[in-house]
């Protein structure tokens, strides 16, 4: 090996290439046409960086590194391959939490060792440590909530005060560590325990409907933590990748919150997200059931049907059945469109992914701005397991927690058919005025089963 080609240079050059590949990969992922190649580019970057890190000067413990890598990679590969598309949001939360935990672990190794860097370096390690630990335990709670392991939202008076106290206490201990003031291993341990508890208490009160925003926020935080630990380790790839994700993730979080017409502070601190329903006792009338055979006839002879999918479709894995139904209608000459609310499902774009999986072409899928004017001319609006995103109280009831959120104007259609499992309220816990309208009929049942019944009904029309 010539003298100039040192391991150090090879590593720096490879990290540079990695950073470029990451940025180009993310850029490609932000357009539907190039999105698929984007992940390949970023993946190549990750591969290069991982391999070259084995050359790091002074590396030892390969007997630990390799098993840890294979174990973590194997478990993630296995779980990522077999998880259903509908459960993707919580898997993102889980993997993101792991990244935050890894950043915190790096900080812990540095801080327990002590005195490796100056005060500034240790302060950065502390900062990355607390952010990473909060992201780790917070994401774990988010995963538990979306997976249904944790139900309901635990809330009590003075919760925000407790969180503030926890944060303050963690920062004081972290400050002692960074300033080398009475900072033994016990202080480091206390610091991490407080940070982990803070992640839990911050996330527990947030309702499931707000989880996408929260997961996106933790994603940004993990990025930031990784960037900070990159400074500690003097690792350019981590600094650039972490910071890029930190800022991109922050923007993405804002876009999501905006799509729900909420501010981020509102999501984190207002405690809305479920069971905020006490404001709406004004719904009158009754829900009127209908049989699948009647709906089949209604749709078969309609000229325009707009399908509004929601989380209920995802839970029931009904996207294939629904698309089969729509194809039957299209063959009969019915104009069928899919209307996607920005936050339908559990994540922005969740419905698009599922419909894409079922094979629905792009041009049948419309977003809120495109489709809202068309509901007035639609014969049938078919609501499949969607609730809050079509609730007209968002337009009218100032007291409602979802007041002001842009909704799909499904209530303007001539007939509204709601496929719903039971009579309960939506994820936000708010009664849906749409269900009580005179032009609304309820088709009770799981979306998969209802879809099959509707297919049979439309076929029976002949």
């Amino acid at each position: 090996m010539p003298g100039w080609l040192s391991a150090g240079l090879a590593i720096q050059a490879s990290y540079f290439v990695t950073a470029v590949l990451f940025i180009l990969g993310l850029k490609r992922m932000s357009s539907p046409v190039t999105a698929r190649s984007g992940i390949l580019w970023a993946g190549a970057g990750m591969g290069v960086a991982t391999l070259v890190t084995f050359l790091y000067p002074g590396m030892s413990n390969y007997g630990l590194i390799l098993p840890a890598m294979f174990l973590g990679a194997g478990l993630a590969w296995w779980s990522g391959k077999r998880v259903a598309m509908t459960d993707m949001p919580q898997m993102i939360a889980l993997y993101n939490g792991m990244g935050g935990g890894a950043a915190a672990a790096i900080a812990a190794v540095e801080l327990y060792r002590g005195g490796a860097g100056g005060h500034v370096t240790e302060a950065l390690a502390v900062l990355g440590g607390i952010i990473g630990a909060v992201s780790f335990s917070g994401s774990a709670i988010a995963f538990g909530k979306l997976q249904g392991l944790i139900t309901g939202s635990i809330r009590f008076a003075g919760q925000q005060v407790l969180n503030l106290l926890l944060l303050a206490a963690a920062l004081v201990l972290g400050g002692m560590v960074a300033a080398h003031f009475n900072a033994g291993p016990a202080v480091v341990t206390g610091f991490f325990v407080l940070a982990l508890v803070l992640g839990v208490t911050m996330t527990l009160p947030i309702g499931g409907a707000d989880m996408p925003v929260v997961i996106s926020l933790y994603n940004a935080l993990t990025g930031l933590a990784v960037g900070l630990e990159g400074f500690v380790l003097d690792n350019a790839a981590m600094i650039i990748a972490g910071t890029v994700v930190g800022s991109a993730g922050t923007l993405l979080t804002q876009l999501m919150a905006r799509a729900m017409n909420r501010s981020l502070g509102n999501v984190l601190f207002s405690g809305f997200g479920d069971s905020g329903g006490e404001a709406t006792g004004t719904v009158t009338g009754s829900m009127k059931p209908i049989e699948a055979s009647d709906v089949g006839v209604m749709m078969a002879f309609a000229s325009k049907v707009i399908v509004v999918p929601g989380y209920g479709m995802a839970v029931a894995q009904a996207q294939h059945k629904i698309w089969e139904l729509c194809q039957l209608l299209i063959d009969r000459g019915v104009n069928v469109r899919f209307a996607i609310h920005p936050v339908a499902g559990r994540m922005p774009g969740h419905m698009n992914v599922l419909l894409a999986e079922a094979g629905v072409p792009y041009d049948l899928i419309a977003d809120l701005d495109e489709i809202n004017a068309e509901f007035e001319t639609a014969d049938v609006a078919l609501i499949i397991g969607a609730n809050d995103v079509v609730n007209p109280v968002a337009r009218t009831d100032k007291g409602s927690p979802i007041y002001g959120m842009p909704i799909l104007n499904a209530d303007k259609a001539k007939n509204v058919i709601v496929i719903k499992r039971g009579k309960g309220a939506g994820f936000s816990g708010i009664e849906n005025a749409l269900f009580y309208l005179d032009n609304t009929r309820m088709l009770y049942g799981d979306a998969q089963k209802a879809g099959a019944e509707l297919i049979a009904a439309v076929k029976a029309v002949g």
Binding site: F22, I23, L26, M29, S30, P32, A35, G38, A42, G43, M46, A49, T53, Y56, G58, M59, N61, L64, I65, M69, G72, A76, W77, S79, G80, M85, M88, P89, M91, I92, Y95, G99, G101, A105, I106, V109, Y112, V120, S216, V226, G227, E229, L233, N235, A236, A237, M238, I239, I240, A241, T243, V244, A248, L252, L255, M256, A259, G349, A356, P361
Partner: protein, 101 residues
């Protein structure tokens, strides 16, 4: 790396992240969140270095957990993102053959 250079890198990377994501269509929000989730899996290289330099049993234990978690972040993030984007390709190709878009 001196402090100021590090600060410049931080600033430029932050703007880059912002610019890369700006004007992204809503349908790509979830895949993109997943993709950026994969990108911060680069924490793996840091965890490898941390474990590679660990001396005491405590450091080794934490380092081991760090590498395990980081590898999970990177691989899981990749698999999930790839699976999501696979569908976009499939439906895009179909749409093309039908002469739309």
């Amino acid at each position: 790396m001196t402090g100021m250079v590090a600060l410049y890198i931080f600033m430029l990377a932050a703007f880059t992240g912002y610019e890369v994501i700006a004007r992204v269509p809503v349908i790509l929000h979830t895949p993109l969140m997943s993709g950026s989730n994969f990108v911060h899996g680069i924490v793996l290289v840091g965890a490898m270095v941390a474990l590679g330099s660990a001396a005491t049993p405590l450091e080794k234990t934490i380092g081991f957990i760090g590498v395990l978690l980081a590898a999970g972040n990177a691989v899981g993030g990749y698999v999930v993102t790839e699976r999501m984007l696979e569908m976009f390709k499939a439906s895009g190709a179909r749409a093309k053959t039908k002469g739309t878009h």
